[in-house]
Symmetry: C2
Subunit: 215 residues, 2 copies
């Protein structure tokens, strides 16, 4: 009786559990509002174990950013973009999918990347750089897709980097508003607006087209 407690070392599992809890807490409450005590309790982890895997709170946040936030962007945006038949179709699909998912769960927690970016970018350069890297990869994926479309004969005069920047900005801003109003509708509104983006006048697109025509 009184079965002796048996401990089983599972470093990877413990690390994963901590990251799971931290990812959720940072997303829902933010970095500063999440205490290590809360995380320890939620993950069922002692202080010694937590400190063993993540010496400081900053190290934990950095791991969340580099492993979890980056992965979330990859899964939500980059993978669907690679799989899409075109850049525009990919953007549309992601907006729709996210809006539908938010409406299904009836609650908007916001974009993980943007949430942390706002709170941590000015606090620490290491945070800022890690976050900026994810933004850059996100934009690059969209721009590359536009370029691929153009090699296939589509997307005539659209400037890839410009469209990518606008798509990411529109999504980020729309999520910000959706979070504040707790209503995913604005995502769809912004998508409709995005779909009206065409290189019809001015800018680099015009210049490019002209050059081609003069040849």
């Amino acid at each position: 009786m009184a079965p002796r407690k048996k401990r089983t070392n599972d470093p990877e599992g413990m690390r994963r559990r901590v990251l799971d809890v931290a990812e959720g807490a940072f997303q829902a409450r933010g970095y500063h509002a999440s205490s290590l005590g809360d995380l320890m309790a939620a993950a069922g982890v002692t202080g010694g174990a937590l400190h063993h895997h993540f010496p400081t709170k900053k190290a934990l946040a950095l791991a969340v950013i580099e492993e979890r936030v980056a992965a979330a962007v990859q899964k939500t945006w980059i993978d669907p973009m690679l799989a899409a038949s075109s850049a525009r179709e990919g953007v549309r699909a992601v907006f729709e999918a996210v809006a539908a998912e938010l409406e299904r769960q009836g609650y908007v927690r916001g974009c993980p990347l943007n949430n942390l970016a706002h709170e941590l970018s000015l606090a620490d350069d290491e945070f800022r750089l890690a976050l900026a890297k994810i933004f850059a990869g996100w934009r690059r994926a969209i721009a590359d897709k536009i370029r691929a479309d153009q090699q296939d004969g589509g997307e005539g005069g659209t400037d890839p980097d410009r469209f990518a920047a606008l798509a990411v900005a529109a999504y980020s801003g729309a999520m910000s508003m959706a979070k504040t109003s707790q209503d995913a509708g604005v995502l769809r509104e912004c998508l409709r607006g995005l779909e009206s983006v065409h290189p019809s006048s001015g800018g680099l697109a015009m210049r490019r087209r002209r050059r081609v025509l003069l040849r």
Copy 2:
């Protein structure tokens, strides 16, 4: 000699000084990262005085949101929009002005509204509502300007609410990226993208135009 210290009650001035400091600190470091001790020291205010004007930290933040953040949006966006010759020109002017200002000061602190919205929207419903109200007024100002343009014969098939949502989202998201990369250039990229928004196909615009043509 030893001139007796004379105190002069100046409730409004003291309140203003506290709000000034709090506005700056919340913007630069965020709500949770700004302690009342820091604010008191920076404003040269004692605990008693602070507590007299703002019973809790939350009350202070609410005042910052309702008085300062709302005023900032009014000054930066709504007033220029009202003064502009058209909605598109107004949006362009604001983007350019903000980008130029950021480049002048060589530092991007981000959008006050978005900064606080991300940190506080999920923390407290009172915060969230106050912030949502400012977002709504911002979008309404732009949409109203589009409607005014349409009454003057311009902006044919542009959907006012849709364009307004996209403009606000693009600005918010662009500022988010600018803050993270500490580079205002993305603001200009997004502006160029926004300028390519025309009601040329799909959506309500298409339906409207078709209806006109069929008459």
